[in-house]
Amino acid sequence: MSVRTLKGNGRWWALAGCLLWLAFTFFPLYWVAITSFKTPLGVVGGPTYIPFVDFQPSLSAWRELLSGERGQFYNTFIASTIIGLSASLIATAVGSMAAYALVRFTFRVKLLSALLFVVVAFGGYLICYNIFRIGQALSLIYAFLAALSLAVASSRLRLPGPVLGNNDIVFWFVSQRMFPPIVAAFALFLMYTEMGKIGLKLVDTYVGLTFAYIAFSLPIVIWLMRDFFEALPIEVEEAAMVDNVPSWRIFIGIVLPMSKPGLIATFMITLAFVWNEFLFALFLTHSKWQTLPILVAGQNSQRGDEWWAISAAALVAIIPMVIMAGILSRFMRSGLLLGAIK
C-alpha cells in the first residue's frame, strides 16, 4: 500500500474517467482491427461493428500484406526494427550522457567562439565550394574541421563578450528540433549524396539513416532527461564520488538505474519517434533500408483509401511497439528512490 493509491470514491471516479479515455483511445484502434478483417465490400457497405455478428471476417487484407503485394513488407519491417531499436538506444544513451553532463557539470562557452564556429563553417564552405571548387563534400568537411578546431582553440583564449552556460547549450540542442524538417531533410539528402560521391555511401545505408535519427532524437532526449536527472538526490552520487567511483560508472551504475522511469519513458518516446518517422526515411533511403511508415503511407494510394489494407499495415506497425511498451512499462515503477536519503 502506498499513500498514492487512491481510496474510496475517488478511485471509482478515476476509473470511470480512465474508461472513458480508454474508449476514446481504443475505439479507433478497434475500428482499425476489425477493418483489417473486412473485405473491401464490407467496408464500402457502411459501418459494421462486431465480427461474426454483423460481418464475416476475412483474411484477405492480411494475406495481401504479408505476401508482399502491398510493398516489401518483411524488408521494411526488419529494417525498421533494426534502425528503430539501435537509433533510439544510442540516442537515449548519448542524449542521457549529455543531459547528465549539462545537469551536473559546468559548461561555459564563449559566445565569440560559437560565432567563430558559425562564421568559419559558413565562410569556409562557401569559399571552398564557390571559389576553389573542390566539391561540396570536401568543402564541407574542411570547413567543419577548421571551424571546430578554431572554435575549440579560441575557447581557451580570453575572449571578451557574453558567456553561454548550460541552459543556453540545452536551448541550442532543442532549437535543432525547432527547424522545420522539410528543408533539413532535403539538405541532408544532398549532403549524403555528396558524401556518396567521395566514397562515403550514406544514402540508403543503415549508418546514414540511423545517424540522422540519432541526431534528431538527441534534442528531445536531452531536454527530457535533464529534468529527470535534476530530480535525483545528488547526495547519492556524492557518496559514489567519495568512493572514487569513476564518473562514467556513477552515471551507468547509479544515475541511470535511479532515473529508470524517466529513462524508459524517454526511450519509448524516442522509439516511437524513430519508428514512425517518415520524411527522413523517405529521403535518405530508397530500397534496402526503407522503413515501415513509408509502406504504411503507401497504402494511401492515388486509387483512394483502401481501408482494409491501411488497417492491416497500421496494425502490423504497432504490434512490435505494443510488445515493447508492455515489456518496458513493467520497469516503470514508483518508489525507486525510496530509502536513498533521509
Binding site: V242, V245, K342
Partner: protein
C-alpha cells in the same frame, strides 16, 4: 602520512558566509571529533575535506598533497553521510560492496568484506534487502558499512550513530575505535553525542558559527573550557551559570551572585582569578559537581521547579536568584517541586568567565 590541514578555508553559499577563515590541522592517525550547535558548519567542513564542496578560498591539504581543487575520488576519503545517501536500487550487500566492485576487487574478497561488515553492523539478515525496506537505524548502519569496508587515508563520519539505540551505539563506538586502531587512519567524526565525543576522540574540536571555539582533548575540554560557549556546550546536562562579581571578603575572594548569594572562592583559585576583581564575571558549575555534600563545600539554596529522575541520579531543576540552575541529587532523594533545597557546590570545580568577553579566567 595523511595529515589533514585546512588553511584559511572559507565557504560561502551564494552570499552567505558559512565558514569564516578556518585553520585546522588534524594530525596523521588522529581521531578528531567535531562538535558544535546545529548549523555551525560541521557537515560543510567535512564535505570540503571530502571534496564535495569547493572551498570558497583557502587551501586544503591531505598528507603532503594540496587537494584544494582535487576531485573527491582522488582524495581517498571514506565518508558516512549525515543523510546516508544509499544507492536505492542496490541491496544492502551491493551497497556495501559497490566501491570494491568498482575497484575491481575479486568477487570472493568482496563477499568476505561484506559479510564481515554485516557481522559488525548486525546487518546479516538484511543483506538482500533494498534500503527502502529497512528501518532508519538499519539504513544508517548500511551507510557505515559502506564506509568501513575501505581502507582510505581519511575517514569522515557525519553523525554516524545518531539513529541507533544506545546499546548498538556503544557496540559501534567500540567497532569504530577498533577500526581506527587497526587501520591507523585519520578520522574526522561529527557527533552530537557528548559521550561519543568524549570516549572516542583524541581531540575534540568545538565549533560555533563556522569558527573553532576550542580544540583540545576531551578531559581538558571538560575541565578547562576556554570560554563560556565551550563550557555551556560541553557536558550534559549543561553547566550552570550564575552572573555576579568577584569581591574581596577578608582574606578570601568571594563571588557575589546577582541574586544575593555569596560563594567563597578557594584559596588555590583566588590568586588566579584576582585580576577580575570588581568586574562582572560568570561563575560556572556543572550539575554533577553539586551532588556530593562535603562539609567544606559552600551551599546555595535552590528553589525546585522540576524534577528529572534519571536512574543513577536525579536532576533538580530550578532557580538560584535570577539564574536557572540544575542540580544533580542522588537517586532516591525525596524532593518535590517548590521545595527549596540546599545544594552543595564543589568549589574546586567552579569556573569563572569574564562576562564581557566570555573568556575563562583563573586557569
Amino acid at each position: 602520512m595523511s595529515q589533514v590541514r585546512l588553511e584559511q578555508v572559507t565557504k560561502s553559499f551564494g552570499g552567505v558566509l558559512v565558514i569564516p577563515p578556518l585553520d585546522l590541522v588534524i594530525a596523521d592517525k588522529e581521531f578528531v571529533v567535531l562538535v558544535g550547535p546545529s548549523g555551525c558548519g560541521k557537515t560543510t567542513t567535512l564535505r570540503m575535506i571530502a571534496g564535495l564542496e569547493q572551498a570558497t578560498s583557502g587551501e586544503i591539504r591531505i598528507g603532503d598533497r594540496d587537494v584544494t581543487t582535487l576531485r573527491p575520488g582522488l582524495r581517498n576519503c571514506s565518508m558516512v553521510f549525515q543523510n546516508y545517501a544509499l544507492y536505492p536500487h542496490m541491496t544492502v550487500a551491493e551497497n556495501i560492496g559497490y566501491g570494491m566492485k568498482v575497484r575491481g576487487t575479486p568477487k570472493a574478497d568482496i563477499d568476505r568484506a561484506v559479510a564481515e561488515a554485516a557481522r559488525i553492523l548486525n546487518l546479516g539478515a538484511y543483506l538482500n534487502r533494498k534500503p527502502s525496506a529497512l528501518s532508519g537505524g538499519q539504513r544508517q548502519r548500511v551507510a557505515i558499512g559502506r564506509a568501513i569496508v575501505r581502507q582510505p587515508d581519511v575517514f569522515l563520519f557525519d553523525e554516524p550513530l545518531s539513529n541507533l539505540d544506545a546499546k548498538l551505539r556503544i557496540e559501534m563506538r567500540t567497532e569504530i575505535k577498533l577500526l581506527h586502531r587497526r587501520l591507523q587512519t585519520t578520522i574526522v567524526y561529527v557527533t552530537h553525542d557528548q559521550v561519543e565525543a568524549m570516549t572516542m576522540a583524541d581531540r575534540v574540536v568545538v565549533m560555533s558559527q563556522g569558527r573553532i571555539e576550542q580544540a583540545a582533548d576531551p578531559i581538558t575540554l571538560y575541565e578547562l573550557p576556554k570560554n563560556l560557549f565551550v563550557a555551556a556546550f560541553i557536558g550534559a546536562p549543561s553547566m550552570n551559570f550564575i552572573e555576579g562579581t568577584l569581591e574581596r571578603g577578608g582574606d578570601n575572594l568571594v563571588f557575589h551572585a546577582d541574586g544575593g548569594v555569596a560563594i567563597p572562592v578557594p584559596n588555590g583559585r583566588a590568586a588566579l582569578v584576582a585580576e577580575a576583581i570588581g568586574q562582572p564575571v560568570v561563575l560556572g558549575i556543572r550539575p554533577e559537581h553539586t551532588m556530593v555534600a562535603d562539609p567544606s563545600f559552600p551551599t546555595v539554596p535552590l528553589k525546585i521547579a522540576d524534577i528529572e529522575p534519571l536512574g543513577p541520579h536525579t536532576l533538580a531543576i530550578g532557580k538560584i536568584g535570577p539564574a536557572a540552575f540544575t542540580a544533580q541529587v542522588p537517586a532516591g532523594t525525596r524532593i518535590r517541586p517548590d521545595d527549596t533545597i540546599s545544594v552543595p557546590i564543589d568549589h574546586e570545580k567552579m569556573h569563572f568567565f569574564l562576562k564581557s568577553t566570555g573568556e575563562a579566567i583563573g586557569r
